[in-house]
């Protein structure tokens, strides 16, 4: 035993990685349709002229909505089951293509970031995982620049920090953990009725070992709140984030066992 000074040996544990998605709850998205009506001849000419000019102006917007609707539909399908790398890469690519064509829209970037943070789990080593998280971060930065800070983006920010940490949990626990917490806190402050906030809190607690203050018992009340909020939540628009109800239900069932 050597002469003593500040003897404080210390410890840090591996966080068990999580993210198992299961089971179904398909969401159907209504598709937009418009039908020209059949007026009298004069009205027809005027309407045709208007229709052609307006079609030109909103043609781009329709294209955006159509493409996003399809992509978000496929996103919901993928999000409700066990993640498949090829599927998520294809989704990430689709959203990124839309994002590149529409520099003023934050939603395609939102979904692309989500896709890349999911793809990080498939990385074979720390460097590959980090490369995916780098991509997610870059897209998220663009989204923030367009939309500013809102509850969904802050939640996504927390998710990206989590992916960063899980690439090398033992070492990054100390640095990424507090950043994850801070973003989650802000997401709740900006959107206290956002059900995904409670889903993320609850699932994080569910997978945190009991010795660290987590576990099923602690997670259950939070997951119950998530399920409640999902039941009453109305998204701001058809393309806005609306995922996670299935996950929350499943996880609550697991936590109640």
């Amino acid at each position: 035993m050597k002469g003593c000074g500040n003897t404080l040996p210390a410890y840090c544990l591996i966080l068990s990685s999580f993210h198992s998605f299961l089971l179904s709850s398909l969401k159907s998205n209504a598709s937009l349709n418009s039908q020209p009506t059949n007026p009298m001849k004069k009205l027809l000419t005027i309407t045709v002229a208007l229709f052609l000019s307006v079609n030109f102006l909103f043609g781009q917007n329709e294209k955006y909505t159509a493409a996003m609707t399809e992509a978000v539909k496929d996103f919901s399908v993928s999000e409700n089951k066990e993640p498949n790398q090829a599927e998520w890469q294809a989704l990430a690519n689709r959203f990124e293509r839309i994002a590149t064509a529409e520099p003023k829209e934050w939603l395609p970037r939102y979904y692309a970031t989500y896709a890349y943070s999911t793809l990080a789990f498939f990385g074979k080593n720390i460097t590959e995982k980090d490369q995916m998280v780098d991509k997610a971060e870059a897209l998220l930065k663009e989204a923030f620049a367009i939309a500013g800070e809102n509850s969904e983006l802050m939640l996504l920010d927390a998710q990206v920090h989590q992916a960063r940490m899980l690439a090398d949990p033992q070492s990054r626990y100390q640095s990424e953990g507090p950043l994850f917490e801070a973003s989650l806190k802000k997401a709740e402050a900006l959107g206290p009725d956002n059900p995904r906030v409670y889903l993320m809190k609850g699932s994080n607690l569910y997978y945190t070992p009991e010795q660290f203050g987590g576990g099923k018992k602690v997670a259950k009340p939070i997951l119950e709140k998530a399920v409640e909020k999902f039941a009453t939540f109305r998204a701001a628009g058809l393309l806005f984030p609306n995922w996670g109800q299935g996950q929350a239900g499943y996880m609550l069932a697991q936590a109640s066992k």
Binding site: G3, A90, R97, A101, S175
Partner: protein, 730 residues
């Protein structure tokens, strides 16, 4: 009407231009298919994802000039302009890999890094804390790494045949004047710093960068962490001390405060001591760490620590009451360091600036005679780095120190001051992804010596394969002679060492192999002549003597050898082990030596085996360390010390040590708790570090460890109620 309707339908829904089929294949430079690549036509929604064979095809309604863009994570983006002619077109796309840690070479010769941030490192900071036998003391664990030697009864880092003076500890770039607790005879002191303060540890065993100097053998570079956790109050309790720590953090700033009181009396009552204590060590201390994010890129860190301690012991040669001496030591130490780092022009320029002040006072008496002293060091440092593309860098820096030393020897007082300054420049160039070079130049000035020096440094690394590389380092290193010599002789020159180091390493799938060979040439070492007129000089083996003889820089020496490191974290689940072996052959002519000989702190063979296993179900980690140190030379007065006698020819027996440590994580009443236990020298081996002789030269006695088999237990509790992500920071 019908016709108009048809026209409307045609105009409204049909595109005005024809559709074109675009297809092709995406592959890397060697032709291997890249599935999942994103292929798109710039400015449109048209595109596709490449399939498992790298093939893609999609239809576009665009016209005229277009740009095909292909991107794939980990590779450089591809863009090609072309013209849409209405006919189908195929493309063969070849993507270039982006530079990453996996495919880019890293300069590693002479350096062993434990870092969270860099990938090609051998250890993580966590490894330091969990190594058995280390006692969570950084330098104790560094002694288990290749290149380091274990000298059981002395404090400091002994590297590749160099003495403890030849290694410096540096925190955030600045030299630490008193990294260890104050020395008392034959009791090895531990480092003053808590390993969890640091995000990275770089242990250089030679050939280090031009940014550092004043160490002939090695630099232990510690980097403090940039973040603090928001943990609230923590309590630490063990057989040696009781402490409190409080952490507070928000987005912009953080504050950590630590306070502790220690008394080794209870521990020494339980663990039999080989030292006769008149007053068991008692100590108190406190520290404060403050971090502030001044901007998106700027970070200010300030650390301050104050501690004091008291102890009393008796030393004597066995069976010789005449040599019985009572030693009393009362120490106080204050240390503060602050750094400011920032980057400008989007990372093109980086600034690191630091300031540090330390004051250490030892009130030491040997039988009432004053043998104490004080050290004071003030230093400032600034480094500016220009970052070019492809990670090439050029840096310039300077450091200025003022050192005030006072010492007393048998009531005689000495004092000296030194103004030390250095400037350095270094560039790191990646000639290709596979070949990197670092060239630097350092110049130093010491006012006490009133001399300048110029030291070039050079290192290269070449990536021989996907997982392996070869690295070389060479350079000249200067150091002020031991200040004890400078009290009497201000005309001395810098001591010098030239290094040449070559290493090969391979890291694949969590298995690491590394072999490194070195040659060091020493020059201008201080020699002391203790001959009196009319009689031959007699070697005085007392390691605590005050050098009173004539001195000059006429000494020289060499050190050569190699070390091997193997680590495997993969083969057995949750089991991590590493093996190191170091060989050194060294002789030098220095100090009182009248002929070149292997110094007494050198052991030719050092080997260690470290194992760690994590038991998931009981959240417990159990670690073993076995270390072997071959015999060291010791002075035998019966042999004589002239050039033809067998000076320092005797060797002590080898030293074996098997130690064990375990830690368990649990919650007590919702409070996160860690319990730990260590047993050192499990086999109760009666180790001998060196031999001394009684003044009459007749009886030899052994100098060994402070205690043989010893144990230590403790716990750390977090009183914070935070339920979400918790980081344990002790």
């Amino acid at each position: 009407m019908k016709n108009i309707l048809v026209l409307i339908l045609l105009l409204g829904s049909a595109p005005l231009s024809a559709q074109t089929l675009l297809s092709g294949q995406v592959a890397d430079r060697k032709g291997n298919a890249l599935p999942g690549a994103n292929v798109l036509l710039k400015g449109t929604y048209d595109g596709a994802t490449s399939d498992t064979l790298g093939r893609f095809s999609f239809v576009t309604f665009g016209k005229d000039s277009a740009s095909l863009q292909v991107s794939y994570v980990g590779y450089e983006s591809f863009e090609r302009r072309f013209v849409l002619r209405g006919k189908p077109q195929t493309f063969t796309v070849r993507l270039e890999e982006s530079a990453s840690e996996l495919n880019t070479v890293v300069i590693t010769a002479g350096s062993f890094e434990a870092s969270d941030e860099k990938r090609m490192t051998m250890l993580k900071p966590l490894d330091i804390v969990t190594t058995a036998g280390g006692g969570a003391d950084i330098t104790a664990v560094m002694q288990l790494l290749p290149g380091a030697q274990r000298v059981g009864e002395q404090s400091g880092l002994f590297v590749r045949g160099g003495s403890g003076q030849e290694s410096k500890v540096v925190i955030d770039g600045m030299i630490v004047q008193n990294p260890f607790f104050s020395a008392v005879p034959d009791v090895q002191q531990r480092g003053r710093f808590n390993p969890f303060m640091f995000k990275g540890t770089a242990f250089s065993t030679g050939g280090y960068s031009a940014q550092y100097g004043q160490a002939l053998s090695s630099i232990l570079s510690l980097s403090t962490s940039d973040y603090a956790s928001n943990n609230g109050l923590g309590v630490s309790l063990n057989l040696a001390n009781a402490g409190l720590n409080y952490d507070l953090a928000d987005e912009k700033q953080s504050l950590s405060v630590v306070g502790y009181y220690g008394n080794l009396k209870p521990l020494f009552a339980l663990v039999k001591q080989n030292v006769e204590w008149t007053r068991e060590p008692e100590f108190t201390g406190s520290s404060l760490t403050y971090r502030l994010k001044t901007s998106k890129t700027g970070l200010l860190k300030a650390y301050g620590m104050y501690s004091n301690s008291r102890l009393g012991m008796i030393t004597q040669a066995p069976l010789d009451d005449e040599t019985r001496t009572g030693i009393k030591l009362s120490n106080c130490n204050a240390f503060t360091t602050s750094t400011y780092t920032d980057s400008f022009a989007e990372g093109k320029w980086r600034l690191l600036s630091g300031f540090s002040y330390s004051y250490n006072r030892d009130e030491t008496t040997f039988d009432g005679s004053n043998f104490g002293g004080s050290d004071e060091r003030i230093q400032g440092r600034a480094v500016i780095t220009r970052v070019f593309e492809k990670n090439n860098t050029l840096l310039f820096g300077t450091e200025v120190h003022r050192i005030n030393l006072k010492t007393a020897f048998n009531d005689q007082g000495y004092a000296l001051h030194d103004n030390y300054a250095a400037v350095f420049a270094e560039t790191e160039i990646y000639l290709s992804r596979k070949l990197a070079g670092r060239v630097g130049l350092r110049s130093e000035y010491s006012s006490r010596l009133n001399r300048f020096n110029l030291a070039p440094r050079l290192s290269f690394a070449y990536k021989t394969g996907e997982h392996s590389q070869v690295s070389l380092a060479a350079g000249r290193f200067y150091q002020n002679p031991d200040y004890r010599y400078l009290y009497k002789n201000p005309d001395l020159n810098f001591e010098r060492a030239d290094h040449l180091i070559l290493n090969y390493q391979r890291i694949k799938d969590k298995r690491t192999f590394r072999i490194e060979g070195f040659y060091k040439n020493y020059a201008q070492l201080v020699r002391e002549f203790t001959g009196q007129p009319g009689s031959l000089p007699r070697f005085d083996a007392n390691p605590y003597r005050f050098p009173w003889g004539q001195t000059n820089n006429g000494g020289n020496g060499y050190a050569q050898g190699f070390d091997v490191f193997w680590r495997d974290q993969q083969t057995i689940k949750n089991f991590d082990y590493w093996i190191t072996y170091s060989y050194v052959d060294t002789k030098r002519l220095f100090e009182q030596f009248q002929q070149a000989a292997t110094p007494t702190f050198v052991s030719n063979h050092n080997a260690s085996l470290i194992t760690k296993k994590w038991f998931e179900k009981i959240t417990t980690s159990a670690n073993f360390t076995y270390s072997y140190t071959s015999g060291r030379p010791y002075y035998n007065p019966n042999r004589g010390d002239g050039p033809n006698d067998n000076f320092l020819a005797d060797r002590t027996p080898p030293v074996h040590n098997l130690s064990f440590s375990a830690s368990k994580i649990m919650t007590i009443k919702n409070n996160f708790t860690i319990l730990y236990l260590t047993v050192d020298n499990l086999l109760n081996t009666r180790n001998v570090f060196t031999y001394r002789y009684t003044p009459d030269g007749q009886t030899r006695y052994a100098v060994g460890p402070q205690s043989y088999r010893s144990f230590f237990v403790g716990m750390q509790i977090m009183l914070s109620k935070k339920a979400t992500v918790i980081s344990s920071d002790l």
